[in-house]
Symmetry: C2
Subunit: 124 residues, 2 copies
């Protein structure tokens, strides 16, 4: 089985982080791993933001997050346990992750409000 | 001549901003427009970070920045004058642009230090 590749803390780049977190599904996965505070497997995310995600797509998302240095994956039997590397990233780029997660939260809140407003309008 | 497309403030998305600013050259262009505080044309950037950039590549970079809602372009004769939309983005996603620009600055400083260190080592 191929070993999982992780960049060292020094190799973590802004470009890699921004690319990894520019996808809403990847941000949702990452935010969940950060907030869980414990390791999570890929299959915890088969339903994400009320949609089913194919396992191959999920694996690809995890690979991008891992190669950007945002998470660390560890093989346990047939599964990969994932934990956040936010302390390392925070030390390298203070404030960056918080700002990105906050911006995504603002955007999701706004979208949810608009959805509720549209639902109320169509119900009238 | 085709009109330049700009998203409205409401249409500016985190994904678009992160994608636009995940390229080091685009960040350098954007940081320069922000810090200039006045409009700049595409040709101000034909030399960027000590490298020559083809005009077609520059135009593409400006298009991505414009479509992400980061800059506003206005045709003046044969040139396009570009200004930052940072006030609008800041209102929508407080702290995001500052954190990204700061992270890129940290990374550039670190790279410059390593380059100087390598130059000193090879000179010994």
């Amino acid at each position: 089985m191929r070993p999982l590749m992780h960049p060292s803390a020094d190799e973590i780049s802004v470009e890699g982080i921004l690319h990894a977190l520019s996808d809403p599904d990847r941000v949702a996965i990452y935010a969940s791993i950060v907030s869980a505070g414990c390791s999570q497997t890929c299959s915890s995310f088969l339903t994400l933001r009320d949609r089913e995600i194919p396992k191959s797509t999920l694996s690809q998302h995890f690979k991008v997050l891992r190669e950007a240095g945002l998470i660390r994956g560890e093989r346990k039997g047939v599964e990969v346990q994932n934990t956040s590397r936010c302390a390392e990233v925070e030390e390298r780029f203070p404030g960056l992750l918080g700002a990105i997660l906050k911006a995504h939260a603002i955007q999701s809140d706004r979208a949810a409000k608009q959805k509720r407003k549209a639902a109320r309008s169509s119900g009238n």
